[in-house]
Subunit: 458 residues, 2 copies
């Protein structure tokens, strides 16, 4: 077999990089569990008719076919109708309906899984990637305070990821808005329902087009008046890190019941989240955020990664008044989804982030000759009994070679059973030690995530 | 959307069941890491030509096609050649070749991921399931002591899974053999290479056919003599939990250099593993084990789950002299793969195993009225700061209703912020408590895995 080459859009990690990813997953899971979110996983496949309910994503779906089905007509139909999930929301909505009788509502779950999209690979866009979602779903009703809750939980999780004591990711900016606020404002301007959708779609282009260009489109494509266009654009430029945006909106002189409802919700959200803000995790009301064609009905979230704004939103979500429905019962939900690979893979690939060893082992137990391998195994067993990860040298090579074996993997200690001594190969310090009692410093016990700036300063 | 129904062969778990699976994964990962195995994940897809190298599995592969490719001929070819991996060995061999220059050998990794097979679903056979693999791979050479190592590591991992203090799975029986032993024995009987393969294939049917039936096939299909058939069958009936099988084999009077090599390796393996055996994890030399058509060249492993023998082997593997090769360099490997879903899903589905709550929360913080929600949130924040998972009641219902909310999820404690008291709702015991210092008993801090027999006795 010739040397294989990577498949574009299917990133893979080396062991030291994968360790960083594992730490991110562990940090997220721990935060979500502290807030009572239970973990679930859903199967990788869904019936195609479920995956294609949102027309605009249909082109991204990977369809599955059993190889056998190609030559065996009878089997072809049976599997024709399944594809790989492209997000975790569609499978979760299906899981809720399928298991409604066995779940307790409001049901709070987190889900960290791979998803697949057959789109053209580009920076931060993969064909296989991991998402981390939290959602709270109610039966019939779901109080607004759960919108606040998912924002706070994700903000706390992002705060841990950005903390230099933990993973040390760049900072995050959580941007929040409310569809009721936008829709109420547009309705107050006198737009019809169709007009509202059209204006929302065009204003959403502000991240790609200039204000003048969008204004032109509003006048020509949406057919709104100059005053309506200017007010819609004025709304979309409002930003605030506190509830001062309420007055700014009111100063635009538009009145509508739904607008008031949206203003009240968004103000409550910002006030409740502001105390969690740090210099690395900020929250901002950004009245341009609408989440395009998604079916959100209230709160909407987007998130920017500092220094990686070109990646777009790396953590998005919002409130659905009907996350799922079986015709009789409706399940409203609110959730937020972190694009874990989208954040992490570029940082790992550029070498901004890695870990300081490629194996979990703290200790390499040296082997003087093959006859004394059992003695080396006994040392390793004694260390493992006290939760100290270690490995035994694969061959009785010269000790210098065994030390280099440890060095190349980043293993900090080499144990010499014959001498009953352990050497810190970073300092060269070698001391007598008993495998039943020796303990490495806590920071050596597990691999450490290191950022590029930490490496350069050390 | 009508109520969805499960997809046959794609099992999903409820939150309390998923918790058990998470604990199993954590237990395995911890054990593997203690032995210095690094974690990796490989992408879900491989080029079809790689997946189809073993002709006999081709029918099980799910091929991927982008939905768009159906209507867009130009895009069709590009994605035609990929399918979902059906095991973790083929992707691992490819990963080793692709990254050989960036890995340190011997390279030890564990991998816990889903795999997919388009086969007909039946008991213990799924279309999507999780495997947990450990492998050690060398460059050019790999000493035999690594065969012993992977057996010992997996035995230790299975021992933890079977321990009543941990997951409490049924017991395991690890069955080991050696291809050199079988091939050397058959060669010593005077069989040709083709004859050896044919006899091995037929003797492997002993788990489905009677001794008399296999003997008949050996005489008619393989065309061996009655003496050769009888000796081959005699070898396949040998079992031992220590190295006494060496003398039993020698008593059959067959001599061959490869047989001696196999006997020595298997004896060393059994002697090194025997000390790890317990009443729930046994090791046995079973000279009938050959692993059928797989390309093993030395040690082979199979594993039976007590009381679930009909599942077949739930943990298998062995030594490959050429796990991977790029033509210039050969990478020998030894590994073992646990069918995690195959073991766990039947136990979960039959209710033999579950966990005692469906959420991570230890405490439900009650809410007297919506105006005091902030006070309840403050209690929850104080508890979480000390790593105590908790949730706040979703509505200010009557306290009786809030207690039932906790009860239905298995949450053991309800906190009343107004009274500054916490109630153990199992005993009804209610005491004054400070969220800055209160600590639940350790066994309440995380959900507990419970077996059916534990439930019945409590």
């Amino acid at each position: 077999m010739p040397k294989p080459t990577p498949l574009s859009g299917f990133p893979e990690l080396l062991p030291a990089q994968r360790y960083v990813e594992q730490q991110v997953v562990t940090t997220l899971a721990r935060t979500f569990e502290l807030h009572g979110f239970a973990n679930i996983e859903t199967r990788a496949v869904e019936p195609l008719d479920q995956l294609l309910r949102k027309g605009d994503t249909s082109k991204e779906v990977y369809v599955l076919r059993r190889l056998q089905a190609a030559t065996d007509g009878s089997a072809a139909d049976k599997d024709k109708g399944i594809g790989l999930h492209f997000d975790l929301t569609v499978p979760f909505a299906r899981y809720v309906l399928e298991n409604a009788g066995r779940l307790e509502f409001p049901f709070r779950r987190y889900q960290i899984q791979k998803v697949w999209r057959g789109e053209r690979p580009q920076e931060g866009r993969f064909r296989e990637f991991t998402q981390a979602d939290i959602d709270i779903v109610g039966r019939d009703t779901l109080p607004f305070h759960h919108d606040v809750e998912v924002a706070r939980v994700m903000l706390e999780a992002l705060g841990r990821l950005a903390s230099p004591d933990s993973i040390g990711l760049p900072g995050f900016r959580l941007q929040v808005n409310n569809r009721k606020l936008i829709q109420g404002f547009y309705a107050g301007l006198g737009l019809t329902d169709d007009g509202i959708d059209e204006v929302m779609r065009l204003v959403d282009k502000l991240d790609k087009l200039s204000v003048a260009q969008v204004r032109e489109l509003l006048l020509t494509e949406a057919g709104v008046s100059e005053e309506q266009a200017d007010k819609a654009l004025a709304l979309a430029t409002i930003r605030a890190t506190d509830d001062s945006f309420v007055d700014t909106v009111r100063d635009l002189g538009v009145k509508h019941e739904l607008l008031e409802e949206g203003l009240a919700e968004l103000a409550e959200l910002v006030r409740a989240c502001a105390p969690l803000a740090t210099d690395r995790t900020r929250i901002e009301a950004d009245l341009s955020i609408a989440r395009g064609l998604d079916y959100y009905t209230g709160t909407v979230f987007e998130t920017r990664l500092d220094g990686f704004e070109s990646l777009g939103s790396i953590c998005s979500g919002g409130r659905y008044d009907a996350l799922a429905s079986d015709g009789r019962t409706t399940y409203p939900g609110v959730g937020i989804s972190l694009g874990l690979s989208r954040v992490l893979v570029p940082l790992l690939q550029r070498g901004e982030l890695t870990s300081d060893r490629s194996v979990p082992s703290v200790v390499l137990v040296a082997v003087a000759d093959e006859d004394s391998r059992a003695a080396a195994d006994a040392v390793a067993t004694a260390l493992r009994a006290r939760d100290i990860p270690c490995e035994v040298a694969p061959s009785a090579a010269k000790f210098g070679k065994q030390i280099r074996h440890a060095e190349r993997r980043g293993i900090p200690y080499v144990w010499f059973p014959d001498q009953g001594e352990v050497k810190d190969i970073r300092s060269g310090n070698q001391v007598a030690a008993d495998p039943a009692t020796w303990q490495p410093p806590t920071q050596d016990l597990r691999p450490q995530v290191v950022t590029n700036s930490e490496r350069q300063s050390s």
